[in-house]
């Protein structure tokens, strides 16, 4: 009988299920974009081996998102427990973890042996870091014919700004996404999250899946260069065509329109105050049918018969007055009460939900099982964000929470690469792993 903690016994790597089973990924990704991108591969059966440095810990291992320990981002522990970070657990579930010191010759040799036993290699360092370790596409092809080699960066692998530094908010600013977000005639409100870390990650997941599918069909590997800024520009939406087709600049009075909607002209269309502190509900009325449903649902108060609100264009023209009336009604109710009442009457409405609402109130997410739990030897049971897709055949294979630092060194270096126990011990003693 194994004397170790039961949760450690269950953590032994096993054969994976899913459409990517049998595919091994040498994963040099860290931070947000890369880790989220390869997470989808790990979720659906790929053996993703995360290669980490013991001396330069992955940022999500360091950020102080600790269970039952509330502190701000700035209050980072100077000597953090690398296995306690919640964000790392969230990003690296279902992956294996090894440590390699890439600054040592032996470390780089070990990495090359691992690449030779893999068929996909991923990285999101600053351009040039992998080449500095001689891990170019040419070298990788020599190690592993028809390899898929994915680079994920802010600006791409070439071009005059390829070495510029970025993270989510910088990408959002450079690509135009921040500018188009906010109230008119003042500074943009932009984004309160690294939207582009998520979107760049999702695009990179798709690029990897396309490359794998393409190789299955043709036998051909590929190198991939995805720039987060270019993904961001491609997401700007129809406003960009208004600029290029109509030569209408977005630096103009009245733009961006905040929560108002000009295309199509909709009113009421906004976010309205509710009972409680900083609670809000979004309501969107697109046509006369919607308007009559709304007025019915709220009991036909006298102001709804105001001739200014009789047609769509007139409602749009008098949106300020309309919003003030509707806000008086929403203010007396909870966001979910408004949402349910209006939606049950066929009106488009949604509570502005925070993370507590998503996790503890939202009946739809509970029904769909969007969040799931896995145990972790240091953190204990934790919740995870699942894949927002229900498949009739494909199954998400949640086999383990995120790896402890170097947790799978023995499995990967001995079982996969064939090193003896003594050799692995020597590498550890020499600081190579």
């Amino acid at each position: 009988m194994d004397a170790r903690h039961p949760s450690l016994v269950q953590r032994q790597p096993r054969a994976r299920r899913g459409p990517l089973s049998g595919i091994r990924v040498a994963d040099f990704c860290w931070m947000g974009v890369g880790s989220v991108a390869t997470r989808m591969l790990a979720d659906f059966g790929a053996e993703v081996i995360k290669i980490e440095s013991r001396t330069r810990l992955d940022m999500p291992r360091r950020l102080p998102l600790y269970k039952n320990d509330s502190r701000s981002f700035g209050a980072e522990d100077p000597d953090p427990d690398p296995d306690k970070g919640g964000l790392f657990n969230n990003y690296s579930r279902n992956k294996l973890g090894v440590t390699i010191n890439m600054r040592s010759v032996e470390g780089r040799e070990l990495a090359e042996r691992l690449i030779a036993q893999s068929s996909v290699v991923t990285e999101n360092f600053a351009p040039g870091v992998m080449a500095g370790w001689n891990l170019t596409y040419e070298r990788l092809r020599a190690l592993c014919p028809e390899v898929i080699y994915a680079h994920m960066s802010g600006f791409g692998q070439n071009g005059p700004h390829h070495s510029y530094r970025s993270y989510g908010p910088v990408v959002q600013a450079v690509s135009g996404l921040s500018f188009i977000s906010g109230l008119p005639d003042r500074e943009p409100s932009g984004w309160g999250l690294s939207y582009m870390d998520n979107q760049a990650a999702y695009y990179n997941s798709a690029a990897l899946l396309m490359a794998i599918m393409h190789r299955n069909a043709t036998g051909k590997g590929t190198e991939i260069d995805t720039s987060a800024v270019e993904v961001g520009v491609s997401l700007l939406g129809p406003d960009l065509l208004d600029v290029t087709v109509n030569a209408r600049p977005t630096r103009r009075p009245g733009f961006p329109p905040g929560n108002r909607l000009e295309h199509p002209q909709a009113a009421p269309h906004g976010v309205y105050p509710c009972a409680g502190e900083d609670r809000w509900v979004a309501v969107a009325v697109f046509d006369d049918t919607d308007w009559h449903r709304l007025t019915e649902a709220i009991g036909n108060p006298a102001w709804t018969t105001d001739p200014r609100f009789a047609s769509g264009s007139s409602r749009f023209a008098h949106a300020d007055a309309l919003d003030a009336h509707l806000a008086e009604w929403t203010r007396q109710r909870s966001p979910h009460e408004v949402m349910t009442l209006l939606q049950d009457n066929g009106v488009c409405a949604g509570a502005v939900q925070d993370a507590r609402d998503l996790n503890e109130v939202d009946p739809q997410l509970a029904h769909r099982g969007t969040f799931f739990e896995l145990d972790h030897p240091v953190i204990g049971p934790a919740r995870f964000e699942g894949t927002p897709v229900a498949f009739s055949r494909v199954e998400q294979d949640n086999w383990r929470s995120a790896p402890l630092l170097g947790e799978d060194n023995s499995y990967v270096f001995s079982d996969i690469l064939g090193l003896s126990t003594n050799e692995v011990a020597d590498l550890a003693a020499a600081g190579v792993i």
């Binding site: 700035g74 005059p160 970025s166 600013a173 979107q199 396309m210 109509n246 949604g350 897709v389 009739s392």
Partner: protein, 406 residues
């Protein structure tokens, strides 16, 4: 399977070469998914009602001429597709069934109530077409208490969570929707990945399946730090002006420049390298003031004087225009971004050097720049964008239908 129209003869096959997609989609989430498939070689046949897809009625319009064929919203989401309209001799369902005979994917955006009203049954379709992948992209998914609820970009972002993190420091102002249909675009990203997982499964097993994508869930897992802050320390994040929502307030990150434009710059006090780079930059412009004092070598001292430091950074940026600040800051290793307007990115030397934009002919006398696919593969080239179809442009010219007739 039909042969893709796209891609030049003799060029290497693309991931979706030979893939035929029948699109029955009426919102940006579904139509955007079809657009991504076109970029990588799929033949996307869009079934439209006689009056056209609802997005054809959403502006802005080319040269402000309102018509079914001039909506820029429709153009943006439907590059390179083919449009088929039932000619009245058969029902929409009959047309759909005819097209599905040659199809690999049905991309569809109907809610459960609408599926029933359209007389469709997905499990029946999968029985009839065992290799078909039904890619359903809906507001809330195909089951659950909210499955028939309506959505739009604003409501999706609200209920899904991201909206709560976006807005201004002043909380008397409601959360503000980020622009550009990003709620829909988030659903599109998961629809694309979901389809790919199903296609990979079909490569191995030959079997199709139902892929049920929920915009609500897509957004609920895309709030970045909001959920982890709730999963672990059990705290909520609060919105701040154009920077990360956090459990406690942090210093502003938008700075006004001499040309009245903004840059984004968040100083991480704990990191020594950017601090030294910043002070050296300020010194070169004569606004370092007392920041060169050795007392600032101590993190605690920097933290105590953060407000004072911020005020000096404000001076630094007021001395130069946003473009200069961007390149000079980046040259010094600082992650600074100018708050570009969409028209600014068209002139960006980096994007131009990477040939990111291309010209699309929309009409005989109308051409304009559009972004190319953001994917770059060494083994094959993505499809250059071509204009969206005019309403019913390909009615009667659909290979799938011809095969079915034979």
């Amino acid at each position: 399977m039909t042969t893709s129209q796209t891609g030049t003869p003799g060029s290497p096959p693309l991931p979706y070469s030979g893939l035929t997609v029948v699109e029955w989609a009426g919102d940006p989430a579904g139509e955007g998914t079809g657009r991504l498939l076109v970029e990588l070689g799929a033949d996307v046949i869009k079934i439209e009602p006689p009056q056209g897809s609802p997005t054809r009625r959403i502006g802005p319009f080319a040269h402000d001429v309102v018509s079914a064929d001039t909506s820029l919203t429709f153009w943006y989401y439907n590059f390179g597709k083919r449009s088929v309209v039932s000619d009245g001799s058969e029902s929409d369902q009959a047309l759909l069934h005819r097209l599905l005979v040659g199809a690999d994917v049905l991309l569809i955006t109907l809610r459960p109530r609408e599926i029933a009203a359209a007389g469709l049954d997905y499990s029946e379709l999968l029985t009839t077409h065992p290799q078909l992948i039904i890619l359903s992209v809906t507001a809330f998914g195909l089951d659950g208490p909210w499955a028939d609820y309506r959505t739009c970009d604003l409501v999706g972002l609200a209920a899904g969570g991201p909206l709560a993190s976006c807005g201004y420091d002043d909380h008397s102002i409601p959360p503000i929707r980020p622009g550009g249909n990003q709620g829909y675009h988030t659903a599109t990203s998961f629809a694309h990945c979901g389809l790919l997982l199903a296609l990979l499964d079909r490569q191995r097993t030959g079997a199709g399946q139902l892929v049920d994508v929920s915009m609500h869930e897509s957004l609920a897992v895309s709030g970045e730090l909001a959920n982890p802050y709730w999963f672990y320390p059990k705290v909520l994040v609060h919105r701040q002006t154009c920077r990360h929502a956090q459990p406690v307030p942090t210093q502003p990150a938008l700075f006004r420049c001499a040309d009245d434009r903004w840059v984004y710059f968040a100083l991480i006090l704990a990191d020594r390298k950017p601090w030294d780079a910043l002070v050296a930059w300020m010194e070169s412009l004569g606004v370092a003031a007392d920041l060169t004092d050795t007392a600032y070598d101590d993190l605690a001292h920097r933290q105590q004087n953060f407000q004072h430091i911020q005020e000096l950074i404000e001076c630094l940026f007021l001395l130069q225009d946003a473009t200069t600040a961007y390149h000079e800051g980046q040259r010094r290793g600082l992650p600074i971004g100018p708050v570009n307007a969409p028209e600014d990115v068209l002139d960006d030397e980096h994007l131009q050097a990477r040939n990111f934009f291309t010209t699309v002919a929309f009409d005989s006398d109308l051409s304009a720049l559009v972004p190319t696919s953001p994917y770059r593969f060494s083994s094959f080239q993505t499809v250059a964008p071509t204009r969206a179809p005019r309403l019913g442009e390909h009615t009667g010219h659909v290979p799938g239908a011809e095969e079915a007739d034979r």
